[in-house]
């Protein structure tokens, strides 16, 4: 219920006279047991219709470690897991979202993938379906018609061949309707694109239980680890007028008392301070608060935070991502220690006592010095607190350092890079723990086993489908939930199926290697990504798109597209 994409697609489908869209969520294990014990199919929430009775069943692919849930939901919904086993009686299984950028690990289970913004072709696909359904022709007829649309990928229409070393040799369509390259779709103008006037308002409190409002799509910062930053190019902004109007309608229709301005980097919205001030001024008397989910250190001003938190006050979370300037330059994060310290000092003066810093561990070229740099930053933050005048600062201090294990993702400049081994992650985590001397600092780290599997699937190919299927049969579900994650079972299956995990996760790839996701054209070219990879190794920065065009390829992707016409500087 927290996912913004679902909140957009759901009313978009239901606005159609001929379409009825419902929701279904992966049941927790207790509910699954009840369903299986009583031989009941997984059903949709609104009318309790079993999943197998729908025309389409769609999944949002947010995270690789939710893949087993998808297969499990198909199984619970009494839909054959594999596309090849489905008949005219079964629904068409569709999927989209960030993980559809490398759909191959799910190739055997999903009939149709949406690549890019689904809003563009969703209606067309339904129209095609309606026309096809009347003809009573086989499923393949519909799929062949569907691939004529931009951003539609039907995995059954392609065949990969492999080299003896296991790398991909060739990836070709096997039906003439299927294009060589699948081009992503993107919405040209978010101001005129469909946006819902109301949202589903849950009875129980969910994560992100508020009006989550998308102020722009795409991000031109070019952080080299970030997949979304490449996938969702070009940057497309909504005007502040559109934003204010649409938010007002949503607040009136939902009754929510909080607005969150969502995007990949909301602090980068031009005039964000004015926008927030306007929103706070307009809604403060109604006790409606405004928040920003993600902030770059160099774009936040603490005054802005204070503005937003007038109604409710919480801590400050910042993401330096890496411990030293050298490594931050490698990833093109662009922020400096001075930016961070300035923000932190301001925060302490405004009585914030809780500072959280996010880092990634295992970034390319990382050394033990970079790890020690994380602790060093933590210590400097603690020092800054004690340097703050006692009468101004909060009475208590808590600094949380948290590290995630870096997972190289497709369509990023680091798609060629190996992930650190699990032993190396554990060693680095220990090293960091030893470097932290202050009792004011809490250190949280992410489990490396889960990140290892995530890395396998992130850059995996369709030979992993059998692993997913076996994992679902073996009872793996909710792998992203630490209490449910069963690494030993995964490891055992990987061995049994003779899959080389390190081949996917920890291998340095050659420049010329053909990747399983290379058939997708996201606009940003592979040459550009490789160029960025080389610059990373030299520690060279790439400027923000809005300051200087870096020729990433997206301008050539769509005829007549000029990035700068869709954002303001």
């Amino acid at each position: 219920m927290s996912h913004l994409g679902m909140k957009l697609i759901y009313p978009m489908l239901n606005r159609r006279e001929d379409t009825w869209c419902e929701r279904s969520f992966a049941p927790w294990i207790d509910m699954e047991k009840q369903l299986r014990d009583h031989d009941l199919p997984l059903f949709a929430i609104e009318s309790m219709t079993p999943l197998c009775d729908f025309d389409f069943v769609g999944f949002t692919l947010q995270y690789e470690m939710s893949f087993t849930n998808i297969i499990n939901m198909l199984d619970l919904g009494k839909i054959p897991i594999r596309s090849t086993d489905r008949t005219m009686e079964d629904p068409i299984v569709i999927a989209g979202g960030p993980c559809a950028s490398n759909p191959e690990p799910l190739a055997d289970f999903v009939d149709i993938f949406f690549i890019g913004d689904a809003e563009v072709t969703l209606d067309d696909l339904l129209d095609l379906y309606k026309a096809w359904k009347k003809t009573k022709k086989p499923r393949i007829d519909f799929l062949k018609k569907a691939v004529a649309l931009d951003g539609i990928y039907v995995p059954a229409f392609y065949k990969p061949t492999y080299n003896t070393d296991g790398t991909l040799k060739d990836f070709q369509p096997i039906v003439e309707e299927a294009p060589q390259k699948v081009r992503k779709c993107f919405v040209d103008d978010l101001n005129t694109a469909y946006y819902p006037e109301t949202l589903l308002v849950p009875y129980t409190s969910t994560v992100h239980d508020r009006v989550s409002y998308e102020i722009f799509r795409g991000c031109g910062r070019g952080c080299r680890f970030c997949q979304a930053g490449m996938l969702y190019r070009p940057t497309r902004e909504k005007t502040s007028e559109t934003i204010k109007n649409q938010i007002d309608v949503l607040l009136k229709n939902t009754g929510y008392d909080e607005i969150s301005l969502a995007s990949l980097s909301s602090g980068d919205y031009p005039g964000i301070e004015t926008l927030i001030k306007d929103l706070v001024d307009q809604y403060e008397s109604d006790n409606i608060s405004v928040s920003l989910p993600s902030l770059r250190i160099d774009s936040v001003s603490i005054d802005m935070l204070e503005q937003m938190q007038k109604v409710r006050k919480s801590g400050v979370t910042l993401a330096p991502e890496a411990g030293t300037q050298r490594l931050r330059d490698v990833i093109n994060k662009g922020v400096t220690e001075a930016d961070l310290m300035q923000t932190v000092e301001d925060a302490f003066k405004k009585k914030f006592g809780h500072i959280k810093l996010y880092f990634m561990m295992g970034l390319p070229t990382e050394t033990d010095e970079d790890i020690a740099g994380i602790a060093h930053l933590g210590h400097k933050v603690v020092e800054a607190y004690f340097d703050t005048d006692e009468s101004l600062r909060n009475r208590s201090l808590k600094v949380v350092l948290s590290t995630a294990c870096f997972v190289p993702k497709p369509f990023t400049p680091f798609q060629w890079e190996p992930q650190d081994t699990m032993d190396e992650f554990v060693r680095k985590q220990k090293h960091l723990k030893n470097e932290i001397k202050s009792r004011k600092i809490t250190y949280n780290w992410q489990d490396s086993q889960l990140s290892y599997l995530e890395a396998i699937f992130a850059r995996g190919d369709r030979r992993l489908c059998k692993l997913l299927e076996a994992a679902q049969k073996a009872g793996c579900r909710f792998d992203g939930w630490s209490r449910m994650f069963d690494y030993d079972t995964w490891l055992q299956l990987i061995e049994e199926l003779e899959i080389d995990g390190a081949f996917y996760a920890c291998r340095q790839r050659e420049k010329e290697e053909l990747f399983p996701w290379d058939f997708i054209d996201i606009g940003v070219t592979k040459e550009y990504l490789y160029h960025e990879n080389q610059k990373a190794k030299l520690g060279e920065l790439t400027p923000y798109c809005k300051e200087e065009c870096n020729d990433c390829g997206v301008m050539q992707f769509q005829e007549g597209w000029v990035c700068s016409e869709h954002y303001t500087v």
Partner: protein, 234 residues
């Protein structure tokens, strides 16, 4: 004639306190108290009825329910007080809020109260429930009646409960039980009618009364279907 009862805030703003009676039907019987509170807050916003907020560090809306409703309970009579900014007629209030409430919740009556009126919590006098209980096996009506009579003839019914500090405290629940009778008995279910009274804002939970019946064969968990049929205020 339209009567609007106004109260004045210290700063001269007009607020009206409205007491309303509502029903919760089966569709929403699994709402928790906090879910329901949030639901009403959002419904008031959707209805464009402006609620007064407290003026503290963490402002919260002035909306108070007579009692936290048990999860799973259906009710024909519940009460809440809400402080509304400005003036609004009762008709307008009911029309607007009912339009904004989801299926399963409905305001059936409302009236102004004056500032200083006894709080809802303190005004609860009597409550009547229908409790439908599944049975493990059929039980004769006489057996049930005997158990009911035995319970009601007791001078005191002591239960033990844990206080917030973790101490075990004894409490006599007999004074709260006004009446208990069998409403209907079927092959594998019984419906009881229970009337309880409130003494110094204290009462007894219907489930505890059923437990104290000491009647073998009642499936108390999780199948008791509880309906509040009446809630009387003093």
């Amino acid at each position: 004639m339209i009567v609007v009862l106004c109260n004045f805030r210290k700063d001269g703003f007009v607020v009206s306190i409205i007491r309303f009676k509502f029903q919760r039907k089966e569709a929403l019987r699994f709402l928790s108290h906090l879910d329901q509170l949030r639901l009403f807050q959002r419904a008031f916003r959707r209805a464009n009825i402006e609620i007064e907020h407290s003026h503290g560090f963490n402002p919260h809306p002035k909306l108070a329910f007579a009692q936290a409703m048990s999860v799973g309970m259906v009710s024909d009579e519940e009460y809440a007080d809400v402080t509304v900014k400005g003036t609004i007629t009762i008709d307008e209030f009911m029309q607007k809020i009912n339009k904004a409430l989801p299926e399963g919740l409905c305001v059936i009556d409302a009236w102004y109260i004056e500032k200083g009126t006894l709080s809802l919590n303190a005004s609860m006098a009597e409550s009547e429930y229908e409790l439908n209980v599944d049975l493990l096996y059929p039980i004769a009506e006489e057996t049930v009646q005997k158990a009911v009579d035995a319970l009601l003839t007791k001078q005191e019914i002591i239960i033990q409960r844990r206080t917030k500090k973790g101490k075990i405290k004894e409490k006599d629940i007999r004074p709260f039980i006004k009446a208990l009778e069998i409403k209907k008995i079927e092959a594998l279910s019984i419906t009881f009618r229970l009337t309880v009274i409130y003494i110094e804002q204290q009462c007894v939970k219907p489930m505890i009364v059923l437990e104290k019946l000491n009647l073998e064969g009642l499936i108390l968990n999780p199948t008791v279907f509880m309906v509040r049929t009446m809630l009387k205020l003093t």
